[in-house]
């Protein structure tokens, strides 16, 4: 099928199947559907939209059909994204399984692991969380100390993870665990899939400056994990983690770039516009123009990096550039939103409080998934090939 035919058919299908309420901007956490054992739909429309997309394999359009995807080519997947963006369609399923674990399993997982886990991710049946950081292992992630000891064909896992996003709502966790006690720091880590209901795993939400608790502490107390739940080989975890982080980075930027409030809509909301509908404050208008230019530049850069990756240059360490630029841009947008909202932006309760909470949440963009400073380190070493220090 030609790309243009695919585009026309996709447009028609979306028009017929995406309910109007699923084309409105995501305002709160409840507007996103995350799936999982205990998931509930916020509305009938959300359910209908989700089920229609699962049926098409479009929750994971580029995955193979046998794993719940639609087997689309990269170009077709881009067309689908384009057409969804054109009608402002919400993502039917938010999922760390899709953004992070899936790509790692596709590359490193055994056939059994893929067949067991990927379809459940595609259909939103299991909600995953990520266990990487520890209280003593942040930017220096490879110094992590959560320990797994093998006895027969079962690991006993003990230790603590932190910043595990939505761990209190997740069903399974993919975690980095030190299994090879005598190996060098980076080579002693394994990538493990752990059922959080199987015992020995507990979570505790962390209250953040936004007043929300999207992150948790996660504790392992003699958690029993079958050796068959190690992805790749024991000790290969760091390599897999790095691969996964580049997808996480891509996920963070695509989320940061998607819809939501901007300084122009914010100024209209607060009434801070002149009779022609322009942002009233000329300095704020100028800052917004600069933000707009950088947002256009970022949008074009995502396309260019994709084009170049397709023509063989690969994305590689440039994922760090996208992560750095995209997250700093999102922070700037939130700061300008607050300025455009004025004192309306200070409200804290209900829907009125969403902009302030989003603004505070955005501060984490340049910390999570590797800080901006870590991204700059990676760019300096791997793209610019500057000498090590």
């Amino acid at each position: 099928m030609s790309l243009e035919t695919f585009r026309a058919e996709t447009r028609a299908w979306l028009e017929a199947n995406c309910p109007p309420s699923m084309r409105e901007p995501v305002r709160s956490e409840a507007d996103a559907y995350w799936g999982g054992r205990n998931a509930e739909f916020a509305s009938e429309d959300q359910k209908r939209w989700f089920e229609a997309m699962v049926e098409k394999g479009w929750t994971v359009p580029a995955w193979p059909k046998e794993y719940g995807g639609a087997g689309l080519s990269k170009d077709e997947a881009f067309v689908l994204k384009d057409e969804m963006k054109a009608i402002k369609a919400r993502s039917p399923l938010s999922s760390f399984g899709i953004w992070m674990l899936g790509p790692a399993l596709l590359k490193y997982g055994s056939d059994e692991q893929k067949a067991e886990h990927l379809p459940k991710i595609a259909r939103g049946e299991i909600r995953w969380c990520q266990g990487y950081s520890e209280p003593g292992a942040g930017s220096d992630l490879a110094s992590l100390r959560t320990k797994g000891v093998l006895d027969g064909d079962t690991y006993t896992v003990n230790g603590q993870k932190v910043w595990t996003s939505y761990a209190d709502k997740a069903d399974w966790i993919f975690a980095l665990v030190r299994t090879e006690a005598d190996a060098p720091k980076h080579l002693g880590i394994s990538f493990m899939l752990i059922d959080m209901e199987a015992g020995g795993v507990s979570t505790k939400p962390i209250l953040l400056i936004s007043g929300r608790s999207p992150f948790c502490e996660t504790f392992f107390d003699d958690a029993k994990v079958p050796a068959s739940n190690v992805v790749g080989k024991p000790g290969q975890g760091w390599e897999i983690a790095k691969y996964l982080l580049s997808h996480e980075r891509a996920g963070i930027v695509s989320e940061a770039n998607f819809g939501g409030l901007n300084p122009v809509s914010a100024a209209h909301r607060s009434g801070e516009v002149d009779p022609e509908g322009r942002i009233a404050d000329p300095i704020l208008r100028a800052e917004t123009a600069k933000l707009t230019i950088d947002a256009l530049a970022f949008e074009a850069t995502l396309r260019r990096v994709k084009d170049e990756a397709d023509s063989g240059e690969g994305v590689g360490a440039r994922a760090s550039m996208l992560k750095y630029v995209g997250t700093e841009l999102n922070k700037r947008r939130n700061v300008l939103n607050m300025s455009a909202l004025g004192s309306d932006g200070l409200l804290w309760e209900g829907d009125d409080g969403a902009p302030a909470r989003d603004w505070l949440r955005s501060r984490a963009n340049s910390i999570e998934g590797g800080t901006s400073e870590i991204q700059l380190n990676i760019l300096a070493k791997r793209v610019l090939e500057l000498p090590g220090g």
Binding site: V264, A267, G277, R278, I279, R285, A286, T288, A289, K290, T292, I293, D294, L296, A297, F298, A300, T301, R303, R304, D307, E308, S311, R318, M321, Y324, V325, E373, Q375, L376, N377, L379, A380, K381, V383, L384, L386, P387, G388, G389
Partner: protein, 374 residues
């Protein structure tokens, strides 16, 4: 549209790189400057550019060109930015060629486009009358006089003005529209004053006092002359953005090479995190500018109705980033970056001048906000 250069464009880029390294490296600009040359560019170089086929890049084949479009012209200019090549390419091969294509009558196209393709003329584009770019305020007038016109007014900082054979002058006509007039640079009533600028280029100021023009001086092939002029200016902005990008890329590459080699405290200064973060940030900004420049050039070729926003964004970002590449370059070179002996300062100076021409980052940000409706 594709962000990747096709095979033909890659060949063009590679041959431009090789030709400019040989014929017009940075030392050529120094030579022009140090000889106090009064043309502002090399006529021999301009003739060689015709042999390379560059002067006809935007000229249709029926008029002796190769008709490769805005993107191809931009990729050549990007290489000229890297070598700081002073030439009439932007003024004549881009702005004038675009003006005749968009606003010329059939007779004017036949008369002028072949000359542009053959580098038989140097045409400067005379738009601004104030210190800052402002195409909305044109006070130069062209009033009817028999079959022809009388031109009165002034133009400032006309790029390539000192060495130009002819001018395209934007002037108000009696119907309130802005028209483009093709005017011999030495016509009676014209006073030309060359103005040496910081980048060692030689633009000129012009005063027009009752300059008598023939009836065919007015480019009258466009339905809407204001719209045609706006499109010519957009094309110029995208092309200048491409040149500024080349300036930025070369300044950056030279800076990275330098901090890899230069040692202090017994190690390369490029191993220090303070330097690495500056360099990596600049690299990221360059990536953004690169994407906008290619997007703007391709949009001019493929979907021109969407071009104004992308051209303004590209010019704004390329201006900002080329200035940043120059200033960061000087900082990272340290003391020697302040000397005339090192080239990095020349890049900073050209970035400033190319940035100002046809609107700097502030001006183009204003255009982005106006085009976006806020």
């Amino acid at each position: 549209m594709s962000f990747v250069l096709n095979e033909e464009e890659q060949m063009l880029r590679d041959s431009a790189k090789a030709f400019l390294a040989e014929t017009a490296p940075v030392s050529a600009l120094r030579k022009l400057r140090d000889a106090d040359d009064q043309t502002g560019f090399s006529r021999d170089l301009w003739a060689s550019m015709a042999e390379m086929g560059w002067t006809g890049i935007m000229v249709p084949e029926e008029f002796g060109g190769v008709d490769m479009g805005h993107a191809a012209a931009g990729f050549v200019l990007r290489e000229m930015g890297r070598t700081l090549t002073a030439s009439p390419f932007l003024s004549t091969a881009v702005l004038a060629a675009a003006a005749f294509r968009l606003a010329g009558s059939d007779a004017q196209k036949s008369a002028w486009l072949p000359k542009i393709a053959a580098a038989e003329t140097v045409i400067a584009f005379a738009i601004d009358e104030k210190a800052r770019h402002d195409p909305s305020t044109i006070e130069t007038t062209a009033t009817r006089d028999g079959n022809g016109f009388r031109l009165n007014g002034k133009k400032r900082f006309v790029a390539c003005g000192a060495g130009a054979d002819a001018l395209l002058v934007a002037a108000k006509t009696e119907d309130g529209k802005t028209g483009l007039f093709i005017v011999p640079a030495d016509a009676g009533g014209i006073t030309r004053t060359a103005r040496r600028t910081v980048d060692s280029h030689l633009p000129a100021d012009f005063v027009f006092e009752d300059v008598r023009l023939e009836g065919d001086a007015l480019l009258d092939g466009a339905e809407d002359s204001d719209a045609a002029l706006a499109m010519v200016l957009d094309a110029g902005r995208a092309a200048l953005a491409a040149e500024a990008l080349g300036v930025a890329e070369e300044a950056f590459d030279r800076t990275i090479d330098y901090i890899r080699e230069r040692e202090q405290f017994g190690q390369p200064i490029g191993s220090f995190q303070g330097m690495q973060h500056r360099a990596a940030h600049l690299y990221s900004e360059l990536e953004l500018a690169r994407s906008l420049v290619i997007k703007a050039l391709r949009t001019l070729d493929e979907t021109p109705s969407q071009a104004p926003l992308w051209c303004a964004a590209a010019k704004a970002k390329a201006t900002e980033v080329s200035r940043l590449a120059g200033s960061e370059g000087i900082q990272m070179f340290g003391g020697v970056g302040m000397t005339d002996e090192y080239d990095i300062g020349l890049y900073y100076k050209r970035a400033q001048a190319a940035g100002e021409h046809l609107g700097d980052d502030a001006w183009n940000a204003g255009r982005v906000s106006a085009l976006s409706g806020f």
